[in-house]
Amino acid sequence: MFDWIKNIKSVLKNLLSRKGRSFLTILGIVIGVAGVIIIISLGAGAQALVLGQITKLGTNMIGVLPGKSNEKGPPAAVFGIQVKTLSLRDLETIQDKNKIGNIEAVAPFVRGSITVTAGKESVDTNFTATYGSYPNVQNVKMEKGVFFSEEEGRSGANVIVLGYDIAERLFPNGSELGKIVKLKSSGENKVSIPFRVVGVQEKLGTVAFQNQDDQVFIPFIVGQRQILGIDYIQFIRIKVNNSNNINTAIADIENILRDNHNIKSADNDDFSVKNLADAIKILTNITDALRLFLGLMAGISLIVGGIGIMNIMLVTVSERTREIGLRKALGATPKQIRNQFLIEAIVLTGIGGIVGIISGIIVSFLIAFGARYAGYDWSFVISPVSIALGIFVSTLTGIVFGLFPALKAARLNPIDALRYE
């Protein structure tokens, strides 16, 4: 035991006498370990972010989109193509409790861009025209006031609910309830319609990659007919009472819509019914691919770190071989040489590993902190696997490239090691 302490002390002295080389070796290990931790943490954080965005919407939700979508591609609406196959009649059929059970709430949607004016303040934003069932379907609460009622939504009353950011910008002093704002569409028929503010939606941040606070809500008919001047529905969202009933509900909705549209075979569907679990599955596939990609990058950072270590070790092999020759000439046994180099490798990789873990965690934390500051719901995840992997590979490179040439040199005759070029 005393011998080991003595050994470690002499190794430390030895390492300090070659600060530059020791520093570069440690740096290689730090880069390798920290790189793996940061990259894997980024992957996990991004995955949590993406999935969190989706699950915020609630997992009991079904979406009905116009147009057929096959498994391999997104629906046409994603590309801005307006498919007009969803009608108000479809909505009414879905709402009919006699035809489909297990449904808690249904909301139709159309969206568009709009200019909202309140006094001198004016802001360009998006409107979402929907029913009063919206808060129930989307699981959202009000910051102030109320969402417009089922009745108001259906009848087309001129009432409006502001997103949190819009409310802040139009009414910095917070006196929005009961005030009149004017909506002016950016389309051809530029009518200016007055609305009475009845509520402000709670702050939601970014969900599904949209800032949920930068929009206003108006009754469905007003948005659809008066502002957009269309008679179809862009999409319908349905909340099912229990996640176990989602698949039954999807099948029921599909059958009813086929009836409505006189479609005989599923191949000819002009609509698609998706649930959030599917979306999560697809997104998980994507984020898994992302993590795999990041994992490869982590691998590259390990290789870079490893090559750094390797280079330093190889560059110094001849110098070290001569040092080993000298030590042997002065009476070191092969075992003493091996112990010295083993301790040296352990000390270097140990310091490098610890600094690497700490700096990796700090950088990952700063990234998470920055992402949260920027409004993303980023979680700070450190995977123990990444720490283990980083340490394992770096230590292995350190030991293989540090110890292996040393062991080879320790077997040479002292004079051959001393004369090594």
Binding site: R327, A329, L330, G331, T333, K335, N413, I415
Partner: protein, 236 residues
Amino acid sequence: MLIRLKNITKEYINSGVITRVLRGISLEVKEGEFLAIMGPSGSGKSTLMHIIGFLDRPTSGEYFFSEDNTTNFNDDELAHIRNEKIGFVFQSFNLLPRTTVLDNVILPLTYSKKKDHVELATKALESVGLGNRLNFLSNQISGGQKQRVAIARALVCNPKVIFADEPTGNLDSKSGATVMNILERLNNEGRTIILVTHDRNVAEHAKRVITIKDGEIVSDEHVTHRRKAEIVEEEV
């Protein structure tokens, strides 16, 4: 008899060609001798020195050290002999760079069972006149001082023999004289010194000179008119 070589040969095989460096060397060295091995470069004198000093192994022949047959000693046994029984002084000093003079001299002690490393090393350095340089880095001192550090390092484990391979080869004449003076003093104190040189002037400091040519001993003579190294003033 301290050293007895019986028919030692050394061959190198280089891309199929056998080079015979030593062709059957037999030699005896008594305790307390001051022996110089001379010869032109390529004669095999350094190889012989490395074999006697356990830095290299012979291809064939037997080597008795203190009447022990070392021919079949393993690496650990050889390491112990190198550590305890012999000390080596190289032409190019071979000090650890960026390391203090004291730590360089302590180095062989770390491989021995001896205690009180700092005391022993300090004493060895004082005996070569470097008691005031203990904490200098090995690359901050002059060549002559480096070689004296190397002698202190060779001495520190109190060996029976000191081997010196062209110890003055890299030194100016003044530093060289100081080094030779120290070696003479060590011999006078009873230590065996074996010196390799190609320079007759250096060799004549010894009591006995053997000459090697083409891997064989061609002469073995006592020095009748020994040179004495002048004591040179302390270099600064």
